[in-house]
Symmetry: C5
Amino acid sequence: MNLGKVVGMVVSSRKDSGMEGLRLMLVRYVDENNKETGTQVVAADAVGAGPDELVLVATGSSARQTEATDKRPCDAVIMAIVDSWDIGGDIKYRKSDD
Amino acid sequence: MNLGKVVGMVVSSRKDSGMEGLRLMLVRYVDENNKETGTQVVAADAVGAGPDELVLVATGSSARQTEATDKRPCDAVIMAIVDSWDIGGDIKYRKSDD
Amino acid sequence: MNLGKVVGMVVSSRKDSGMEGLRLMLVRYVDENNKETGTQVVAADAVGAGPDELVLVATGSSARQTEATDKRPCDAVIMAIVDSWDIGGDIKYRKSDD
Amino acid sequence: MNLGKVVGMVVSSRKDSGMEGLRLMLVRYVDENNKETGTQVVAADAVGAGPDELVLVATGSSARQTEATDKRPCDAVIMAIVDSWDIGGDIKYRKSDD
Amino acid sequence: MNLGKVVGMVVSSRKDSGMEGLRLMLVRYVDENNKETGTQVVAADAVGAGPDELVLVATGSSARQTEATDKRPCDAVIMAIVDSWDIGGDIKYRKSDD
């Protein structure tokens, strides 16, 4: 999986029937220091992710292993919202309470 | 999935029988600002995409999860035509009416 | 799929039994202007491609969706020989008659 | 598979049900000289890997072929802890006893 | 598939049960001129490859299509030892007899 930040949403009305009902989020990948890598992906949302949230994105066939994405022509899914991560015990990111 | 722009079509008469009847589009990938990334892909068209349309492309085994591409030796599919997307609420692209 | 040009052949006598009988072609990837990208792949040939022909290569699990490559440990296949492609209606490549 | 070094852990409480119970490790990829490549991945842990351990990471659908990750939306797994490796008979890394 | 050269072996005693009995080789990728590309992969050996041999590596789900790797958490396999390859009829590599 890769770390990413939800920055927007993609809207499509004309699409394969297998894509009906999926929310498609624009996600910028970030590195271990929560710095944007400069690449992005459009991922289906399986967990109710919102703007600016840090998330995990799974790609490839693994992106179809959620209830929301099963058997769909979808190659990237947000399957977790990140609370925090550390490097060597140092917290690099912690989701703020609000 | 990745954002892309349909720029052309690839014609092939001698091909694996599993590819019969598929329209193969040349798609340039674009980034979140609708700027071309410099890479392209040949994708099967599952949604009737036309020239200059902004689309979503799914790759890998997910590209076979449409009715058009099921069980075919096809690793990229156009599975949605994009109406619009935003970043932080700012519309970065909106399909024009015509 | 990606566009490529057949430039050679790879010979192997000691191989997994699943690879018996497959022709393995050396393919240089080309971009939309038929310019070599500098990368190459070894792909099984499912369509009888010959030297210097422009082809389409499918990779990953999709490379096993031809009769020739079904259930084989093969991650790239030539599944079409390209007749032509265009960008915005301008023919960028057309196979010559000979 | 790729060589990597476990450097941290990612915590997520809101996630797809298929991710329940998996430890998610932050892994920096290293090259054959045990030098970090500058890229990282978040991988599920199938072998009880700990901080600073050198591991092997499998990605894609192969990441779902462990008991821990079967049918989960997980595209990277730590499936081995590395004892040592050599290049041309020269040991490049050996796990220290402690 | 990609061309590579076997340069070493990776040893792991603590690993997922699905990896038992597999030899894990360190393989440097080479290009069409048999020049190392600077990247490497750890691949399971399905053909008895030895040091310095030129091989073909299949990745992804295709890496599980050999008897040795079936259903294992393995994303790269050596599935052929290369005898030779040519570009435009010029032999670029031929395995020496010894």
